[in-house]
């Protein structure tokens, strides 16, 4: 009784439920925080609120139908999801994708990266209280969505790729619009930097917050900008090139301290590198078909394969098993970067203040649709 009442009367610990309807958990993440004053002593990350069973559903769809399910995982970066899935199946079936299709895929994936980072920057800055950046970033994201709409008709769930290539060629004049967008984006990135990079409050809120060492980051299985922020040089685009990345010049930004500010700088630099890639791809866009030779009825031979791409959030991997008889996968499994990065939240958050929790959820850039699938 004595110990029980001691626990009951412990004035120092406050259990705070953050989410699933909290405005800063980027969807429906729930954190059960144990607070000492405002300092986080422990946190339970509860997820699964938007679990739709995409992996299981996929085992009952035929190979092409799955593409539109992948749209719904990371719903703010649908094109990279499509790309990862299509390339995995192509690898399984050993299909050759035409060079023009690979170029266009790269352009779409990089545009998607900019769009996703715009959303991240806006919400991250909003979480820390800079609301103007949010609207600026969404203004530019709108331009990308317009480009996608012109290409495939959809603004969010694109369903923009097919196994063996692309469903559509670029509309005429699209490449000029994309070039114009690159020019706009260049100046806008400078604008974001002006608002945040040297802002004292921004520095105080992000520098030294959520520091994680390279070794810890690897141990936790982090990927993407959170991993590179901790000075680990790992980017699937360089290490295991896919699409047409081996034909372009670009740099992978690496952080030094592994804090929130470094991860912010890395993503801002990725804006620039993405623009660089898009420009090169647009200039060198080869002529030719956009669809490879693919049978009408897809039925890969029995076997399994894993293929990863660098999505805006990190390493997005697909593991697919085909039994060679059915027109659907035998096993379909996704390695979502948001899910893996979310595992790093607990060590990042402990010891920080409540206000930092929202900043740290922002810095690892999770999309709950992808975490829960």
């Amino acid at each position: 009784m004595a110990t029980e009442s001691a626990a009951m009367f412990d004035t120092d610990e406050l259990v705070l439920n953050m989410g699933p309807q909290h405005p800063s958990t980027h969807g429906v993440l729930r954190l059960v925080l144990r607070l000492d004053g405002e300092r986080v002593k422990d946190v339970d990350v509860v997820m699964g609120y938007v679990h739709r069973g995409i992996e299981k559903l996929s085992e009952n769809r035929d190979w092409t139908q799955i593409i539109l399910l992948t749209d719904r995982m990371d719903y703010v970066a649908a094109a990279t999801n499509n790309l990862g899935y299509c390339e995995t199946v192509e690898k399984l079936m050993e299909v050759e994708v035409p060079r023009r299709a690979r170029y266009i895929r790269t352009i779409l994936a990089e545009l998607q990266r900019i769009a996703s980072h715009c959303l991240w920057l806006g919400t991250h800055a909003m979480d820390i209280g800079a609301m103007t950046v949010f609207l600026y970033a969404f203004r530019e994201r709108e331009l990308i969505l317009d480009l996608f709409e012109e290409y495939c008709g959809a603004r969010l769930t694109y369903n923009s790729m097919r196994i063996g290539g692309l469903p559509l060629d670029l509309p005429s004049g699209w490449d000029d619009k994309a070039r114009a967008f690159c020019d706009i984006m260049d100046s806008k990135v400078a604008e974001y930097e002006e608002l945040l990079t040297n802002n004292r409050i921004w520095l105080e809120r992000t520098r030294g917050i959520g520091v994680i060492s390279g070794a810890d980051a690897i141990a936790l299985g982090l990927c993407g900008p959170p991993l590179r922020g901790s000075a680990v040089n790992r980017d699937v685009r360089k290490d295991e090139p896919y699409a047409a990345y081996d034909e372009f010049d670009f740099d992978i930004p690496i952080g030094t301290r592994g804090d929130t500010y470094d991860r912010y700088l890395i993503r801002l630099e990725e804006f620039r590198q993405s623009i660089r890639i898009i420009r090169q791809a647009l200039d060198g866009l080869p002529e030719g078909p956009v669809m490879g030779k693919v049978p009408r009825l897809l039925k890969p031979k029995a076997g399994e394969t894993y293929h990863a791409i660098e999505s805006p959030k990190g390493e997005l991997g697909y593991f697919i098993v085909s039994d060679g008889r059915a027109t659907n996968p035998y096993r379909f499994r996704v390695r979502p970067p948001s899910f893996c990065n979310l595992q790093g939240l607990r060590p990042l958050v402990i010891g920080h203040l409540v206000a930092d929790v929202v900043a740290l959820i922002g810095t690892i850039d999770v999309v709950l649709g992808e975490v829960d699938r």
């Binding site: 009442s5 001691a6 009367f9 004035t11």
Partner: protein, 101 residues
Amino acid sequence: MEITPAHYTVLSAALFTIGVIGVLVRRNIIIIFMAIELMLNAVNINLVAHAQQVENLVGQVFVVFVIAVAAAEAAVGLGIILAFYRNKETVNIDEMNVMRW
């Protein structure tokens, strides 16, 4: 009817008595502290009223000191209450019957 210092003295006495009742009857130490503040205020009313009557501001000077002492008392007293509460999980004056724990 004119208001004389006697009126203020009676008001002050009544307020002081309420404070005394609070101290003697309540068992929540925080409320006892508040009752003490009431008593201090009762005294202040008296001082100010008579300072006005004798047209000498010394009474008001005293009130300034009383307020300063009250602030000091509140700070230390509440600090003690908090420290006590951390150890015994109670603010009941009847349970504060040892000088150490």
